[in-house]
Each structure stands twice: as structure tokens, then as C-alpha cells.
Amino acid sequence: MEVPRIWRLKKQRYALQGEVCPHCQVKIFPPRDVCPECGGEAKTPFSFSGQGEVYSYTLISNAPAGFEEQAPYTVAMVKLNEGPLVTAQLTDLGDEPVRIGMPVEMVTRKIRNDGDERGMIVYGYKFRPVMAK
């Protein structure tokens, strides 16, 4: 059980909430309270747009514990439009082949059960191909 950790990370996991550096305006994700660029204190919350593109990806066939039911699935490094790289599962691919540079958008999905089906449902960000209007 890791209920306290799930609770503590909810804002960043549900809605890609990170930080912006008040000194050099760099956008930070995940939040770490210190700017990776200038080293200054950076605690100002910033909500990312959720738009980005696939920077790199891999297919996971042998999933780690807690993710077996979802395998096979694709994990990608996504370059957010605001700068940071985040690692997340891709979802709703349907028949679309994944490619580097593919535009993707954040969605909030079930990540896993904490333990078994009696445990908490952990929700968080994944990315899907940008939907056509």
C-alpha cells in the first residue's frame, strides 16, 4: 500500500501540474522546487497544456508488477510543448503506428490498482494521438 504517496502526487499525476521558475521562466516537470536551469528556488505552480510530441518510444511486452493486465503497451518519452520531457504510457492508439514526432495530448486514465482489486485505483497522465477535429 502506498496511499500517502498516491495522495501526495495527485495534482501532478491527474493534471500535469508542474512549476515555473520565477527567475528564468523555465517550465519544470515533475515539480522539484529548484530550477534545473538557473538553480534558483522555483515553487510557482504551472499547469501544462498537455500538448507535445513523441520524442522516443518502446514497446513493453513483459510488464512490471501491477501492469501485467495492460501488456503489451507502448511507453514514450514525450516532449511537452513547454519544454520538459516526461515518460508516460501511450493509450488509445487503435491501429495507428507510433512514430517519433507524432503529436500527442495528455489524458487522465487509470494507471493501475494499488495492490489488487481491493486497493485504490491510481489515476494519472497518459498520452494519446491528437484527435482530429
Binding site: 491527474y14 493509450t91 488509445d92 487522465t108 487509470k110 494507471i111 489515476y123
Partner: protein, 362 residues
């Protein structure tokens, strides 16, 4: 209906009309990507045709009522032009809340950035849980307790394998933000609810699948309640079917809403834009509400819309909604309902079982 035609406001009758005028300030739909054709279900159970819908929408492995409500709510916020900070309620109506005990509303609220100063209880009334919450939102905003309330009607409906309901029980729904008339994309002129103790469909605690009263589901249940609610709102307002541009009803299949529409005097053209069950199935709490989103995607200023939901057990909520000028510009700020319907990946029965958690992994 002409733009200057006024909906009558009786002194004191059966209508539900708040003191402060309210409307829909934002709306959003959600339909998951996957589709299971009825003939694929028929293949498994040896049925050859006469299916109640063409196909139904199926939630992916990582989706549930909470995740789908989050996306519909985000779409509603994009169109609403308000900040999530301004919400005073986040209400989710469903019969498939992911937890037996723990509200869906708090997770949705946290994800969309709503403040802590909100109401967030879950609603349940079979397929009309979402519209019941909508009436409550009208009351909350209309009494001045809060400026904005978000309501969702969303389900990941399950039918017993091989049962008639398996062909239609689908996933999807919609969210609406109810607010003051001056910021509304459409006004809610009036609503009316009609309920009775009718045992047409139920699910006991700890049971996975619902039970239904077979043929009992038609006349004394769906038709009696939808017709009574719609006819009363007509009588109380003096409006008739010809005054409306569109009508949308709860849609457990293709035929029921078509038949009640005809009974009430609507043409197939008035019903068609909101009739989504043939291509997404019955989204239960979402069914009438997502039909309304498809209508708001095309309605013009002054168009009158009738929405009548139905929930087993049983009851109907009927609403008279009138499109306003800002709707035309604001609708493009989020994906349309037809955009979601067009995103379609067909699955087979085995994949469906996997996505619905019917395959034992340990």
C-alpha cells in the same frame, strides 16, 4: 420557432423554474475509441439479425466513469470560458461509479482544477442520474447559492453475456456546466420530473450484472414516464412538438426514442441529430445528455430543444432548452460529439471481454 417567441411562465404549476434564470454555459461529450458491432455479439450467441443498434462504444482497459467524466468536464470548461475555480459543485451521475464507497466527484474535481469549496456527492438513478443532477444544479445556481455547477452523466454499462442488454450496454456520456443566463450558450427555460415505483430494471449490491423485467421494460416503464414528463411540460408551457427544432430522449435502443418521438408529434428530422444509440449504443446515464451535446453542436440561436431522460425504477426529467447567440462561436473550442463518434476502432468479442475485465488474469 421564431426567436422572439417566449416560453410562457405560469404563476405556479408543475414546472421547475428557478428564481434566477439559468442556462448551459459549457458542454462536453466523451465517447471511447472502441466499437463492438452487434453482429459480432450475434456471432457468439447464434443470433442472425434484428439487432437493437448497429454497434456500441466500449471503454478501453484504462478507462472508467471517472476518467471519461474528466475528459467530458474538460471539454465543458473549454467551451464555458470560466475557470474551474468558479465551480461550486462537481456532480457525477452514473450506475457504474468505479468505487462502491468513495466519490467519483472528488477525483474529477481534483483533475479539472476545481477548488475545495464544492459539493461533490455522486448521483444514482439508473439512466437518469445525470439529468437528476442537472435539476439540482439548476436549483443551486437558480437560488444564488453558487454561480456554476458541473454535472456529468457517464456510464460504462455492463450487460450479462448473452442477454439482450449486451447488444446495447455501452460506454460514454457528457458533462454540462450550469450557470447564470447572461453567460449561457443555451437557456434552460423549464424542467419537469415524473417518477413512480416501477420495477423494470435493477441491480442488487455485490451483483455484477443487472436484472430486468423482460417485456415489462417497455410500456409501463420507458413509454409511460417519457410520455408523461414530455406531455406535462408541453401542457404547462403551451408548447407543442412543432415549436421545437430538435428533441432528444433517453435511447436504450434505436426504436424506443423513434417511437416516443412519433407519439409526441416529432418528425424523424427533429429526432435524428440527437439519436446516437445506433452508432454508440446505450450509454445509460449519458444517453440523453450526449444526444443533447450533438444537438448543441449544430443548433442555431433561438432553436428550442426538448430533452427527456429516462431512468429505470423509474422516472423521467424533461427540459426545455433554447440556443443562444454565443453557442455558435463557443462550440468550436472543444471536440464535437461527431468527432468522437468518427474516431472508431472496431474490436472483436474477445477483445471486448478483455477490455471489460472479463478475462481472469490470476
Amino acid at each position: 420557432m421564431k426567436q422572439d417567441q417566449q416560453v410562457p411562465q405560469p404563476e405556479k404549476g408543475k414546472l421547475l423554474q428557478p428564481k434566477i434564470k439559468v442556462g448551459i454555459v459549457g458542454y462536453g461529450a466523451y465517447v471511447p475509441r472502441y466499437r463492438l458491432p452487434a453482429k459480432e455479439i450475434g456471432r457468439i450467441w447464434g443470433n442472425q439479425g434484428g439487432y437493437p443498434v448497429k454497434e456500441k462504444a466500449v471503454a478501453g482497459l484504462d478507462e472508467d466513469v471517472i476518467t471519461m467524466s474528466i475528459e467530458a468536464a474538460r471539454n465543458a470548461l473549454k467551451r464555458a470560458d470560466i475557470s474551474a475555480d468558479e465551480l461550486r459543485a462537481v456532480w457525477v451521475g452514473s450506475e457504474s461509479h468505479p468505487y462502491a464507497v468513495k466519490p467519483s466527484g472528488t477525483v474529477v474535481a481534483e483533475a479539472i482544477g476545481a477548488p475545495n469549496d464544492i459539493q461533490a456527492g455522486d448521483w444514482e438513478f439508473a439512466c437518469k442520474a445525470g439529468t437528476e443532477a442537472m435539476v439540482a444544479a439548476m436549483g443551486m445556481v437558480g437560488s444564488g447559492m453558487g454561480d456554476y455547477a458541473l454535472v456529468a452523466g457517464m456510464d460504462t454499462a455492463q450487460g450479462k453475456p448473452g442477454d439482450a442488454l449486451e447488444y446495447t450496454a455501452a460506454s460514454g456520456g457528457a458533462a454540462f456546466i450550469i450557470g447564470p443566463l447572461n453567460s449561457a450558450l443555451a437557456s434552460i427555460e423549464a424542467s419537469y420530473s415524473y417518477v413512480s415505483d416501477t420495477p423494470d430494471f435493477w441491480r442488487r449490491e455485490y451483483q455484477v450484472y443487472p436484472e430486468h423485467g423482460q417485456r415489462f421494460t417497455g410500456e409501463p416503464a420507458y413509454f409511460e414516464h417519457v410520455e408523461s414528463a414530455s406531455r406535462t411540460i408541453f401542457a404547462e408551457t403551451g408548447l407543442k412538438a412543432q415549436d421545437f427544432a430538435y428533441a432528444v430522449f433517453h435511447q436504450p435502443n434505436t426504436k424506443f426514442p423513434q417511437r416516443i418521438g412519433k407519439t409526441l408529434g416529432f418528425t424523424p428530422e427533429q429526432i435524428a441529430p440527437g439519436l446516437l444509440a445506433p452508432v454508440i449504443g446505450n450509454t445509460y446515464s449519458g444517453a440523453a445528455m450526449i444526444g443533447l451535446t450533438a444537438i448543441l453542436d449544430i443548433a442555431e440561436e433561438g432553436d428550442l430543444i426538448l430533452m427527456t431522460s429516462y431512468g429505470s425504477g423509474a422516472g423521467s426529467d424533461s427540459f426545455i432548452i433554447k440556443a443562444r447567440k454565443p453557442l455558435a462561436q463557443r462550440r468550436a473550442k472543444a471536440l464535437s460529439t461527431q468527432d468522437y463518434i468518427a474516431r472508431r476502432t472496431q474490436i472483436d468479442y474477445a477483445t471486448y471481454l478483455r477490455y471489460r475485465g472479463e478475462i481472469r488474469m490470476r
